[in-house]
Symmetry: C2
Subunit: 329 residues, 2 copies
């Protein structure tokens, strides 16, 4: 059963790992550019190559892209979130949707903490100042991390890693929040990693920093809007390393301008890959280009695990990380 | 026994805390500018005010400055290191030298880790790139912190705090080194915080980052010289948050140019407050202006503890943190 596998986009420079693994099983990989294509272009690629599998990093995989191939067995997300795949369309036509849920836990958590510490210790702003020839220690307004309360919204693998590092490593108080946590525990429950289950209002009242580790869903879209920012009591930092859509950019700018938050660290920004300079150019914002998931180790794991998942399904086996239950197989 | 207390320099904008505490005990505080004066100017101030106590932050307190006052009871360092005080001159004339050894442990350790994480997660470089209008995730060369080995040179309160955070928080392997550690333990001994005692050669061979938490002494001056850099095997990061004099700037530049180290994070630089731009302007160096010790909490503790130590000695009591044993009292 040879066939073509379409890789819509890949934010790494070459695809030798994927090409070699598929070739040895008799499949041909077609890889589009490292730029993320529009959803319409993905549909064009699907029409052209009639793939048995679609692998996507950031590109939108529409219902049409899923419906049109002759025999599409799997749509594999090379990453964790599923917000760029119309999962229901795959389920309806009997196609597996998979992700790689466990590959970049350390990286995203490290990245969130790097942003937290950079802001509290003034690293970016003071480095800019020293590079401009100034040496002005009296201007420092820095913070002691151990005295801080961190609110973590989203308590999957990544949220748990950040909670553990901030409690055990830095001695911070950590408040954690997710819908499933609040179904399993009463607010106020202390967990094994010493973090405490909290509702969102408690985090808004008590946190000196709020870290978003939640998926983008209709419920979380623009979670950080004017109402959310208005409820913040302690002028916290805001760190977003999950999806840009969790934060309303205009509300964020207003919150910075009015001092509802002290600063923001953003690895993801609505509008990326061309986010508004009104967000990124500010001195109270540090931004990185959606790279929190990357390291040499994590990219290798991501590429190998996603490739093996696709091969598993193409051999007729069940996927290891199914994200749907296709209606017909 | 009223008299004058000379505060040579203070990298905070006002001296209300110190002035009020001394006034209530009948002493007058004379505070020089927030700029650090030359040693000669300190001698001039001593001649002018004939102090019973000298408090110094960064200013050099020479043998002459210590010998000339009519009745000098204490030279109080507002900080930890003693490299700017001629301690032997104080000891000879029966004057206490004190420091505040325990006030900024969390801050300096947090700052070192902030620099480590900023470099490994590309925060500064990528923020610059995003602020310049680029969005280039494929250029990221980031690291997974948990897989790293950290060498810590200096294992006082601050070195221990960094070791604990990196082992318990991030799961790193930590190698620790100091003369007293190697007198007490065989190299290879695992300590309670899971760090492992190591000689310097073992750190040079195995570390992915080397953090300097050691005092500046004749033995540690230019510890990081050409010979030291030549012995590094794994292209580590170098973090210096103790004293600029530990690192030879010219050797550092050569080590960066030849790839013996990957990058450097420097809160202290030889030549400060006007360190060479050949060090600070590099994109593979992040620099902050000797502020690792600061936070609102730590500055308050420093100022209160140093002031109380001076008052203790002026009341005729023994200091809590003596750094010498004066020959006559």
């Amino acid at each position: 059963m040879p066939g073509t596998i379409l890789l819509t986009d890949h934010p790494w420079p070459e695809v030798e790992i994927e090409t070699a693994a598929f070739a040895s099983a008799g499949f041909e990989l077609v890889a589009d550019s490292i730029e993320t294509p529009e959803g319409k272009h993905v549909e064009f690629l699907v029409d052209r190559h009639d793939p048995v599998a679609i692998m996507t990093c950031w590109a939108q995989v529409s219902a049409a892209a899923i419906q049109r191939p002759t025999s599409l067995r799997i749509v594999a997300r090379m990453g964790v979130g599923l917000d760029n795949i119309v999962v229901s369309a795959a389920t309806r036509r009997g196609t597996w949707v998979t992700n790689v849920p466990d590959y970049c836990v350390e990286e995203v958590s490290d990245h969130a903490i790097a942003m937290l510490l950079s802001l509290w210790r003034g690293i970016n702003a003071m480095d800019r100042s020293v590079k401009a020839g100034q040496w002005n220690p009296a201007s420092a307004r820095l913070e002691r991390v151990s005295e801080k309360t961190i609110g973590i919204v989203g308590y999957g693998n990544i949220g748990r890693a950040t909670a553990r590092k901030m409690t055990r490593g830095f001695g911070c108080k950590v408040l954690v929040n997710s819908p499933s946590l609040l179904r399993q525990h009463v607010a106020g429950t202390q967990l094994a990693d010493r973090s405490v289950v909290a509702d969102l209002a408690t985090i808004q009242q008590n946190a000196d920093a709020i870290v978003f580790h939640a998926p983008l869903t209709p419920q979380t879209r623009h979670l950080a809007n004017d109402v959310f920012f208005a409820g913040l009591a302690r002028r916290p930092l805001l760190i977003n390393v999950s999806r840009g859509g969790l934060v309303d950019n205009d509300s964020l700018i207003r919150a910075l301008n009015t001092g509802k938050i002290a600063a923001a660290g953003l690895d993801v920004i609505e509008g990326e890959p061309a986010p508004p300079a009104s967000v990124t150019a500010r001195s109270d914002v540090i931004a990185t280009p959606h790279v929190a998931f990357t390291s040499a180790a994590s990219l290798l794991e991501l590429r190998q695990r996603a490739t093996q998942e696709v091969l598993r399904v193409l051999r007729g086996e069940a996927p290891r990380h199914p994200c749907n239950q296709p209606v017909t197989l």
